[in-house]
Symmetry: C5
Subunit: 96 residues, 5 copies
Protein backbone atom coordinates (compact mmCIF):
# COMPACT_ATOMS: atom_id res chain seq x y z
CA UNK A 1 0.00 0.00 0.00
CA UNK A 2 0.98 3.59 -0.43
CA UNK A 3 0.57 6.76 1.61
CA UNK A 4 -1.01 9.83 0.09
CA UNK A 5 -3.06 12.93 0.70
CA UNK A 6 -6.47 13.61 -0.84
CA UNK A 7 -6.09 16.69 -3.05
CA UNK A 8 -9.33 16.82 -5.02
CA UNK A 9 -12.28 15.24 -6.77
CA UNK A 10 -13.19 14.15 -10.26
CA UNK A 11 -16.71 13.82 -11.65
CA UNK A 12 -17.81 11.73 -14.62
CA UNK A 13 -21.48 11.37 -15.46
CA UNK A 14 -20.99 9.07 -18.40
CA UNK A 15 -19.24 5.97 -17.13
CA UNK A 16 -19.21 2.18 -17.01
CA UNK A 17 -22.55 1.08 -15.58
CA UNK A 18 -21.16 -0.78 -12.59
CA UNK A 19 -19.44 2.32 -11.26
CA UNK A 20 -22.49 4.47 -10.66
CA UNK A 21 -22.48 5.97 -7.18
CA UNK A 22 -18.78 5.54 -6.46
CA UNK A 23 -16.74 8.52 -5.25
CA UNK A 24 -13.49 9.27 -7.12
CA UNK A 25 -10.76 11.27 -5.34
CA UNK A 26 -7.38 12.56 -6.45
CA UNK A 27 -4.56 11.33 -4.25
CA UNK A 28 -1.02 12.72 -4.19
CA UNK A 29 1.36 9.88 -3.21
CA UNK A 30 3.78 10.71 -0.38
CA UNK A 31 6.67 9.40 1.64
CA UNK A 32 6.26 8.99 5.42
CA UNK A 33 7.66 12.53 5.94
CA UNK A 34 4.87 13.86 3.64
CA UNK A 35 7.22 14.64 0.75
CA UNK A 36 5.33 14.26 -2.52
CA UNK A 37 6.56 11.40 -4.67
CA UNK A 38 5.26 10.68 -8.17
CA UNK A 39 2.15 11.92 -9.96
CA UNK A 40 -1.34 12.18 -8.45
CA UNK A 41 -3.83 9.45 -9.37
CA UNK A 42 -7.50 8.75 -8.84
CA UNK A 43 -8.80 6.32 -6.22
CA UNK A 44 -12.24 5.12 -5.21
CA UNK A 45 -13.28 6.04 -1.66
CA UNK A 46 -15.92 4.22 0.39
CA UNK A 47 -14.86 5.19 3.90
CA UNK A 48 -15.53 8.92 3.84
CA UNK A 49 -12.10 10.39 3.14
CA UNK A 50 -12.06 14.12 2.39
CA UNK A 51 -9.80 16.89 1.18
CA UNK A 52 -6.50 16.99 3.07
CA UNK A 53 -6.91 13.58 4.70
CA UNK A 54 -3.87 11.36 4.81
CA UNK A 55 -4.82 7.97 3.44
CA UNK A 56 -3.64 4.43 2.76
CA UNK A 57 -4.24 3.35 -0.83
CA UNK A 58 -4.21 -0.08 -2.47
CA UNK A 59 -3.28 0.05 -6.14
CA UNK A 60 -3.67 -2.46 -8.95
CA UNK A 61 -6.33 -5.07 -9.44
CA UNK A 62 -6.46 -5.90 -5.72
CA UNK A 63 -8.44 -2.66 -5.35
CA UNK A 64 -11.32 -4.49 -6.98
CA UNK A 65 -11.45 -6.95 -4.08
CA UNK A 66 -13.54 -4.44 -2.15
CA UNK A 67 -16.70 -5.82 -3.68
CA UNK A 68 -17.72 -9.32 -2.86
CA UNK A 69 -20.47 -9.99 -5.38
CA UNK A 70 -18.67 -8.71 -8.43
CA UNK A 71 -15.22 -7.37 -9.22
CA UNK A 72 -15.33 -3.82 -10.57
CA UNK A 73 -12.96 -2.24 -13.11
CA UNK A 74 -11.10 -0.02 -10.64
CA UNK A 75 -7.35 0.05 -9.96
CA UNK A 76 -7.01 2.15 -6.79
CA UNK A 77 -8.94 2.12 -3.51
CA UNK A 78 -8.57 4.18 -0.35
CA UNK A 79 -8.48 1.49 2.35
CA UNK A 80 -7.75 3.57 5.44
CA UNK A 81 -7.44 7.04 6.91
CA UNK A 82 -4.10 7.30 8.69
CA UNK A 83 -4.11 7.94 12.44
CA UNK A 84 -0.38 7.86 13.01
CA UNK A 85 2.90 6.69 11.55
CA UNK A 86 6.07 5.54 13.27
CA UNK A 87 9.07 5.22 10.98
CA UNK A 88 12.75 5.05 11.88
CA UNK A 89 15.45 5.76 9.35
CA UNK A 90 17.36 2.69 8.28
CA UNK A 91 21.04 2.75 9.27
CA UNK A 92 22.35 1.70 5.91
CA UNK A 93 23.96 3.04 2.80
CA UNK A 94 21.66 4.62 0.24
CA UNK A 95 22.28 3.98 -3.43
CA UNK A 96 23.71 7.07 -5.05
Amino acid sequence: MQLGTVIGNVWATRKEDDLTGLKFLFVQPELPDRTSVGDPFIAVDRIGAGFGDRVLVTRGSAAANMSIEQNLPIDALIIGIVDSIDVERKEVNERE
Copy 2:
Protein backbone atom coordinates in the same frame (compact mmCIF):
# COMPACT_ATOMS: atom_id res chain seq x y z
CA MET B 1 -7.26 5.41 -12.14
CA GLN B 2 -5.54 7.81 -14.44
CA LEU B 3 -6.60 10.88 -16.41
CA GLY B 4 -5.96 11.10 -20.14
CA THR B 5 -7.11 12.46 -23.46
CA VAL B 6 -8.17 10.32 -26.41
CA ILE B 7 -5.72 11.01 -29.23
CA GLY B 8 -6.47 8.33 -31.81
CA ASN B 9 -7.55 4.86 -32.87
CA VAL B 10 -5.93 1.57 -33.69
CA TRP B 11 -7.41 -1.15 -35.89
CA ALA B 12 -6.50 -4.82 -35.90
CA THR B 13 -8.44 -7.28 -38.02
CA ARG B 14 -6.52 -10.36 -36.94
CA LYS B 15 -6.89 -10.66 -33.18
CA GLU B 16 -7.74 -12.92 -30.24
CA ASP B 17 -11.26 -14.26 -30.88
CA ASP B 18 -12.82 -12.88 -27.71
CA LEU B 19 -11.93 -9.32 -28.64
CA THR B 20 -13.99 -9.02 -31.82
CA GLY B 21 -16.11 -5.89 -31.82
CA LEU B 22 -14.22 -3.99 -29.15
CA LYS B 23 -13.06 -0.42 -29.86
CA PHE B 24 -9.39 0.39 -29.16
CA LEU B 25 -8.39 4.01 -28.54
CA PHE B 26 -5.05 5.70 -27.94
CA VAL B 27 -4.95 7.64 -24.70
CA GLN B 28 -2.32 10.19 -23.70
CA PRO B 29 -2.00 10.16 -19.88
CA GLU B 30 -2.18 13.58 -18.21
CA LEU B 31 -1.95 15.39 -14.91
CA PRO B 32 -4.97 17.33 -13.62
CA ASP B 33 -3.65 20.52 -15.34
CA ARG B 34 -3.63 18.59 -18.67
CA THR B 35 0.16 18.35 -18.85
CA SER B 36 1.12 15.14 -20.69
CA VAL B 37 2.88 12.60 -18.53
CA GLY B 38 4.31 9.34 -19.86
CA ASP B 39 3.73 7.54 -23.14
CA PRO B 40 0.36 7.02 -24.84
CA PHE B 41 -1.22 3.60 -24.49
CA ILE B 42 -4.24 1.77 -25.89
CA ALA B 43 -7.47 1.31 -23.97
CA VAL B 44 -10.78 -0.41 -24.70
CA ASP B 45 -13.79 1.91 -24.85
CA ARG B 46 -17.41 0.84 -24.32
CA ILE B 47 -18.97 4.16 -23.31
CA GLY B 48 -18.59 6.11 -26.54
CA ALA B 49 -15.47 8.19 -25.90
CA GLY B 50 -14.14 10.05 -28.95
CA PHE B 51 -11.16 12.05 -30.14
CA GLY B 52 -10.26 14.86 -27.72
CA ASP B 53 -12.40 13.57 -24.85
CA ARG B 54 -10.89 13.69 -21.41
CA VAL B 55 -11.28 10.28 -19.82
CA LEU B 56 -10.74 8.21 -16.69
CA VAL B 57 -8.83 5.00 -17.37
CA THR B 58 -8.37 1.83 -15.32
CA ARG B 59 -5.12 0.04 -16.05
CA GLY B 60 -3.93 -3.47 -15.31
CA SER B 61 -5.93 -6.64 -15.01
CA ALA B 62 -8.81 -4.88 -13.25
CA ALA B 63 -9.73 -3.55 -16.71
CA ALA B 64 -10.93 -7.06 -17.49
CA ASN B 65 -13.56 -6.83 -14.78
CA MET B 66 -15.82 -5.03 -17.24
CA SER B 67 -17.16 -8.32 -18.51
CA ILE B 68 -19.17 -10.45 -16.18
CA GLU B 69 -19.38 -13.74 -18.05
CA GLN B 70 -15.73 -14.02 -18.96
CA ASN B 71 -12.55 -12.08 -18.26
CA LEU B 72 -10.94 -10.77 -21.45
CA PRO B 73 -7.21 -10.29 -22.09
CA ILE B 74 -7.23 -6.48 -21.91
CA ASP B 75 -5.18 -4.26 -19.60
CA ALA B 76 -6.74 -0.80 -19.98
CA LEU B 77 -10.37 0.34 -20.00
CA ILE B 78 -11.93 3.77 -20.32
CA ILE B 79 -14.33 3.85 -17.36
CA GLY B 80 -15.59 7.43 -17.53
CA ILE B 81 -15.70 10.66 -19.51
CA VAL B 82 -14.64 13.50 -17.23
CA ASP B 83 -17.17 16.26 -16.50
CA SER B 84 -15.07 18.31 -14.12
CA ILE B 85 -12.07 18.18 -11.83
CA ASP B 86 -11.39 20.04 -8.62
CA VAL B 87 -7.81 19.80 -7.38
CA GLU B 88 -5.99 21.97 -4.88
CA ARG B 89 -2.25 22.10 -4.67
CA LYS B 90 -0.84 20.40 -1.62
CA GLU B 91 0.95 22.79 0.76
CA VAL B 92 4.01 20.63 1.22
CA ASN B 93 7.58 20.28 0.11
CA GLU B 94 8.19 18.55 -3.22
CA ARG B 95 11.08 16.12 -3.51
CA GLU B 96 13.89 17.70 -5.50
Copy 3:
Protein backbone atom coordinates in the same frame (compact mmCIF):
# COMPACT_ATOMS: atom_id res chain seq x y z
CA MET C 1 -2.42 -2.28 -24.29
CA GLN C 2 0.87 -1.42 -25.87
CA LEU C 3 2.18 -1.25 -29.43
CA GLY C 4 5.28 -3.16 -30.43
CA THR C 5 7.14 -4.96 -33.19
CA VAL C 6 8.06 -8.66 -33.12
CA ILE C 7 11.85 -8.85 -33.15
CA GLY C 8 12.60 -12.49 -32.39
CA ASN C 9 11.89 -15.82 -30.74
CA VAL C 10 12.88 -17.62 -27.60
CA TRP C 11 12.86 -21.38 -27.08
CA ALA C 12 12.71 -23.25 -23.78
CA THR C 13 12.37 -27.02 -23.70
CA ARG C 14 12.27 -27.34 -19.94
CA LYS C 15 9.31 -25.34 -18.70
CA GLU C 16 6.19 -25.27 -16.54
CA ASP C 17 3.97 -28.15 -17.73
CA ASP C 18 0.98 -26.03 -18.65
CA LEU C 19 2.97 -23.99 -21.14
CA THR C 20 3.88 -26.78 -23.56
CA GLY C 21 3.08 -25.83 -27.14
CA LEU C 22 2.91 -22.07 -26.63
CA LYS C 23 4.93 -19.77 -28.91
CA PHE C 24 7.08 -17.11 -27.19
CA LEU C 25 8.10 -14.00 -29.17
CA PHE C 26 10.29 -11.02 -28.34
CA VAL C 27 8.46 -7.72 -28.71
CA GLN C 28 10.07 -4.28 -28.81
CA PRO C 29 7.58 -1.75 -27.38
CA GLU C 30 6.99 1.34 -29.54
CA LEU C 31 5.21 4.65 -29.71
CA PRO C 32 2.66 5.27 -32.47
CA ASP C 33 5.42 6.76 -34.68
CA ARG C 34 7.39 3.48 -34.28
CA THR C 35 10.02 5.00 -32.00
CA SER C 36 11.31 2.29 -29.63
CA VAL C 37 10.44 2.89 -26.00
CA GLY C 38 11.66 0.69 -23.15
CA ASP C 39 13.21 -2.76 -23.18
CA PRO C 40 12.03 -5.73 -25.25
CA PHE C 41 9.99 -8.38 -23.46
CA ILE C 42 8.56 -11.80 -24.25
CA ALA C 43 4.92 -12.38 -25.14
CA VAL C 44 2.84 -15.44 -25.95
CA ASP C 45 1.40 -15.50 -29.47
CA ARG C 46 -1.64 -17.52 -30.55
CA ILE C 47 -2.72 -15.55 -33.62
CA GLY C 48 0.22 -16.20 -35.94
CA ALA C 49 2.33 -13.07 -35.52
CA GLY C 50 5.75 -13.19 -37.16
CA PHE C 51 9.03 -11.31 -37.33
CA GLY C 52 8.52 -7.63 -38.15
CA ASP C 53 4.78 -7.62 -37.49
CA ARG C 54 3.39 -4.66 -35.61
CA VAL C 55 1.30 -5.97 -32.75
CA LEU C 56 -0.98 -5.03 -29.87
CA VAL C 57 0.12 -6.57 -26.57
CA THR C 58 -1.69 -7.02 -23.26
CA ARG C 59 0.66 -7.07 -20.29
CA GLY C 60 0.19 -8.23 -16.72
CA SER C 61 -2.03 -10.95 -15.37
CA ALA C 62 -4.85 -10.08 -17.79
CA ALA C 63 -2.75 -11.88 -20.42
CA ALA C 64 -3.75 -15.11 -18.69
CA ASN C 65 -7.40 -14.48 -19.50
CA MET C 66 -6.80 -15.96 -22.92
CA SER C 67 -7.51 -19.44 -21.60
CA ILE C 68 -10.94 -20.22 -20.39
CA GLU C 69 -10.46 -23.54 -18.63
CA GLN C 70 -7.41 -22.59 -16.63
CA ASN C 71 -5.35 -19.46 -16.08
CA LEU C 72 -1.74 -19.90 -17.16
CA PRO C 73 1.34 -18.28 -15.61
CA ILE C 74 1.99 -15.81 -18.44
CA ASP C 75 2.22 -12.00 -18.22
CA ALA C 76 2.16 -10.84 -21.84
CA LEU C 77 -0.04 -11.83 -24.78
CA ILE C 78 -0.16 -10.62 -28.37
CA ILE C 79 -3.85 -9.84 -28.84
CA GLY C 80 -3.83 -8.30 -32.32
CA ILE C 81 -1.83 -7.59 -35.47
CA VAL C 82 -2.14 -3.89 -36.27
CA ASP C 83 -3.76 -2.90 -39.56
CA SER C 84 -3.61 0.85 -39.14
CA ILE C 85 -3.22 3.61 -36.59
CA ASP C 86 -4.64 7.10 -36.58
CA VAL C 87 -3.15 9.42 -33.96
CA GLU C 88 -3.25 13.19 -33.77
CA ARG C 89 -0.82 15.14 -31.64
CA LYS C 90 -2.38 16.69 -28.57
CA GLU C 91 -2.34 20.50 -28.62
CA VAL C 92 -1.09 20.88 -25.08
CA ASN C 93 2.01 21.63 -23.12
CA GLU C 94 4.42 18.74 -22.53
CA ARG C 95 6.10 18.40 -19.16
CA GLU C 96 9.75 19.36 -19.38
Copy 4:
Protein backbone atom coordinates in the same frame (compact mmCIF):
# COMPACT_ATOMS: atom_id res chain seq x y z
CA MET D 1 9.33 -11.05 -4.63
CA GLN D 2 11.42 -8.29 -3.21
CA LEU D 3 13.79 -7.95 -0.25
CA GLY D 4 13.28 -5.22 2.31
CA THR D 5 13.69 -4.17 5.91
CA VAL D 6 10.83 -3.30 8.26
CA ILE D 7 11.26 0.36 9.22
CA GLY D 8 8.00 1.26 10.95
CA ASN D 9 4.27 0.99 11.48
CA VAL D 10 1.16 2.76 10.31
CA TRP D 11 -2.18 2.87 12.15
CA ALA D 12 -5.58 3.56 10.67
CA THR D 13 -8.72 3.21 12.75
CA ARG D 14 -11.13 4.11 10.01
CA LYS D 15 -10.67 1.60 7.23
CA GLU D 16 -12.34 -0.84 4.84
CA ASP D 17 -14.30 -3.31 6.98
CA ASP D 18 -12.53 -6.43 5.81
CA LEU D 19 -9.15 -5.15 6.95
CA THR D 20 -9.88 -4.92 10.68
CA GLY D 21 -7.17 -6.61 12.72
CA LEU D 22 -4.47 -6.64 10.08
CA LYS D 23 -1.01 -5.27 10.90
CA PHE D 24 0.48 -2.71 8.46
CA LEU D 25 4.26 -2.26 8.37
CA PHE D 26 6.51 0.10 6.43
CA VAL D 27 9.10 -1.74 4.38
CA GLN D 28 12.18 -0.18 2.76
CA PRO D 29 13.03 -2.20 -0.39
CA GLU D 30 16.66 -3.32 -0.67
CA LEU D 31 19.16 -5.06 -2.89
CA PRO D 32 20.85 -8.26 -1.65
CA ASP D 33 23.74 -6.15 -0.24
CA ARG D 34 21.16 -4.17 1.82
CA THR D 35 21.47 -1.02 -0.29
CA SER D 36 18.13 0.81 -0.24
CA VAL D 37 16.40 0.94 -3.59
CA GLY D 38 13.21 2.85 -4.24
CA ASP D 39 10.66 4.34 -1.85
CA PRO D 40 9.28 2.63 1.27
CA PHE D 41 5.81 1.12 1.01
CA ILE D 42 3.29 -0.48 3.35
CA ALA D 43 2.78 -4.25 3.58
CA VAL D 44 0.47 -6.48 5.59
CA ASP D 45 2.21 -8.80 8.04
CA ARG D 46 0.75 -12.03 9.44
CA ILE D 47 3.94 -13.85 10.42
CA GLY D 48 5.19 -11.63 13.23
CA ALA D 49 7.79 -9.48 11.50
CA GLY D 50 9.15 -6.59 13.57
CA PHE D 51 11.26 -3.47 13.32
CA GLY D 52 14.61 -4.16 11.66
CA ASP D 53 13.67 -7.60 10.32
CA ARG D 54 14.76 -8.41 6.82
CA VAL D 55 11.76 -9.70 4.92
CA LEU D 56 10.51 -11.14 1.64
CA VAL D 57 7.55 -9.21 0.22
CA THR D 58 5.03 -10.09 -2.47
CA ARG D 59 3.63 -7.05 -4.24
CA GLY D 60 0.59 -6.57 -6.43
CA SER D 61 -2.70 -8.37 -6.36
CA ALA D 62 -1.07 -11.72 -5.59
CA ALA D 63 -0.67 -10.41 -2.04
CA ALA D 64 -4.41 -10.92 -1.67
CA ASN D 65 -4.00 -14.66 -2.19
CA MET D 66 -3.14 -15.00 1.48
CA SER D 67 -6.77 -15.37 2.35
CA ILE D 68 -8.63 -18.38 1.13
CA GLU D 69 -12.24 -17.46 1.85
CA GLN D 70 -12.15 -13.99 0.38
CA ASN D 71 -9.65 -11.82 -1.46
CA LEU D 72 -8.85 -8.62 0.42
CA PRO D 73 -7.96 -5.23 -1.08
CA ILE D 74 -4.25 -5.33 -0.20
CA ASP D 75 -1.30 -5.03 -2.59
CA ALA D 76 1.72 -6.03 -0.49
CA LEU D 77 2.27 -8.94 1.92
CA ILE D 78 5.29 -9.98 3.97
CA ILE D 79 5.62 -13.66 3.06
CA GLY D 80 8.86 -14.55 4.86
CA ILE D 81 11.53 -13.45 7.31
CA VAL D 82 14.92 -13.93 5.68
CA ASP D 83 17.35 -16.37 7.30
CA SER D 84 20.16 -16.08 4.77
CA ILE D 85 21.00 -15.02 1.25
CA ASP D 86 23.57 -16.39 -1.15
CA VAL D 87 24.16 -14.23 -4.23
CA GLU D 88 27.09 -14.26 -6.64
CA ARG D 89 27.79 -11.35 -8.93
CA LYS D 90 27.03 -12.05 -12.56
CA GLU D 91 30.12 -12.05 -14.79
CA VAL D 92 28.60 -9.87 -17.47
CA ASN D 93 28.56 -6.36 -18.74
CA GLU D 94 26.28 -3.89 -16.96
CA ARG D 95 24.34 -1.39 -19.01
CA GLU D 96 25.89 2.03 -18.68
Copy 5:
Protein backbone atom coordinates in the same frame (compact mmCIF):
# COMPACT_ATOMS: atom_id res chain seq x y z
CA MET E 1 7.81 -12.44 -19.65
CA GLN E 2 11.33 -11.38 -18.93
CA LEU E 3 14.77 -12.89 -19.45
CA GLY E 4 17.17 -13.27 -16.56
CA THR E 5 19.99 -15.25 -15.02
CA VAL E 6 19.80 -17.08 -11.70
CA ILE E 7 22.35 -15.45 -9.39
CA GLY E 8 21.56 -16.87 -5.96
CA ASN E 9 19.22 -18.22 -3.32
CA VAL E 10 17.28 -16.90 -0.38
CA TRP E 11 16.13 -18.90 2.63
CA ALA E 12 13.30 -18.06 5.00
CA THR E 13 12.22 -20.51 7.69
CA ARG E 14 9.42 -18.38 9.08
CA LYS E 15 6.98 -17.74 6.27
CA GLU E 16 3.36 -17.80 5.14
CA ASP E 17 2.10 -21.36 5.67
CA ASP E 18 1.17 -22.03 2.07
CA LEU E 19 4.70 -21.42 0.86
CA THR E 20 6.45 -24.23 2.71
CA GLY E 21 8.63 -26.27 0.40
CA LEU E 22 8.94 -23.71 -2.39
CA LYS E 23 12.38 -22.77 -3.72
CA PHE E 24 13.19 -19.03 -3.94
CA LEU E 25 15.91 -17.88 -6.36
CA PHE E 26 17.43 -14.49 -7.09
CA VAL E 27 17.15 -13.54 -10.75
CA GLN E 28 19.04 -10.71 -12.46
CA PRO E 29 16.88 -9.40 -15.34
CA GLU E 30 18.65 -9.12 -18.70
CA LEU E 31 18.25 -8.01 -22.28
CA PRO E 32 18.60 -10.56 -25.09
CA ASP E 33 22.34 -9.73 -25.36
CA ARG E 34 22.70 -10.59 -21.64
CA THR E 35 23.19 -6.99 -20.53
CA SER E 36 21.82 -6.57 -17.00
CA VAL E 37 18.79 -4.32 -16.78
CA GLY E 38 17.16 -3.31 -13.51
CA ASP E 39 17.49 -4.74 -10.02
CA PRO E 40 17.55 -8.43 -9.11
CA PHE E 41 14.33 -9.90 -7.70
CA ILE E 42 13.22 -13.19 -6.17
CA ALA E 43 11.26 -15.82 -8.10
CA VAL E 44 9.80 -19.20 -7.23
CA ASP E 45 11.29 -22.13 -9.14
CA ARG E 46 9.58 -25.48 -9.69
CA ILE E 47 11.44 -26.70 -12.78
CA GLY E 48 14.92 -27.19 -11.36
CA ALA E 49 16.70 -24.00 -12.40
CA GLY E 50 20.14 -23.49 -10.87
CA PHE E 51 22.88 -20.93 -10.47
CA GLY E 52 23.89 -19.39 -13.83
CA ASP E 53 20.89 -20.72 -15.75
CA ARG E 54 19.25 -18.35 -18.16
CA VAL E 55 15.54 -18.33 -17.46
CA LEU E 56 12.15 -17.00 -18.53
CA VAL E 57 10.24 -15.36 -15.69
CA THR E 58 6.58 -14.40 -15.32
CA ARG E 59 6.06 -11.45 -12.98
CA GLY E 60 2.98 -10.14 -11.23
CA SER E 61 -0.05 -12.01 -10.01
CA ALA E 62 -0.07 -14.32 -13.04
CA ALA E 63 2.84 -16.11 -11.34
CA ALA E 64 0.29 -17.49 -8.91
CA ASN E 65 -1.49 -19.32 -11.72
CA MET E 66 1.03 -22.13 -11.37
CA SER E 67 -1.11 -23.78 -8.74
CA ILE E 68 -4.47 -25.13 -9.71
CA GLU E 69 -6.06 -25.83 -6.34
CA GLN E 70 -5.20 -22.56 -4.69
CA ASN E 71 -3.55 -19.30 -5.71
CA LEU E 72 -0.44 -18.57 -3.65
CA PRO E 73 0.88 -15.14 -2.62
CA ILE E 74 3.84 -15.09 -5.03
CA ASP E 75 4.62 -12.48 -7.69
CA ALA E 76 7.39 -14.07 -9.79
CA LEU E 77 7.76 -17.57 -11.23
CA ILE E 78 10.48 -19.14 -13.36
CA ILE E 79 8.48 -20.66 -16.21
CA GLY E 80 11.28 -21.91 -18.48
CA ILE E 81 14.98 -22.51 -18.89
CA VAL E 82 16.12 -20.86 -22.11
CA ASP E 83 17.55 -23.10 -24.87
CA SER E 84 18.14 -20.42 -27.46
CA ILE E 85 17.19 -16.92 -28.51
CA ASP E 86 16.93 -15.41 -31.97
CA VAL E 87 16.58 -11.63 -32.01
CA GLU E 88 17.17 -9.21 -34.86
CA ARG E 89 17.71 -5.53 -34.25
CA LYS E 90 14.81 -3.38 -35.32
CA GLU E 91 15.66 -1.03 -38.19
CA VAL E 92 14.11 2.03 -36.63
CA ASN E 93 14.99 5.15 -34.79
CA GLU E 94 15.61 4.87 -31.05
CA ARG E 95 14.31 7.58 -28.76
CA GLU E 96 17.14 9.71 -27.50
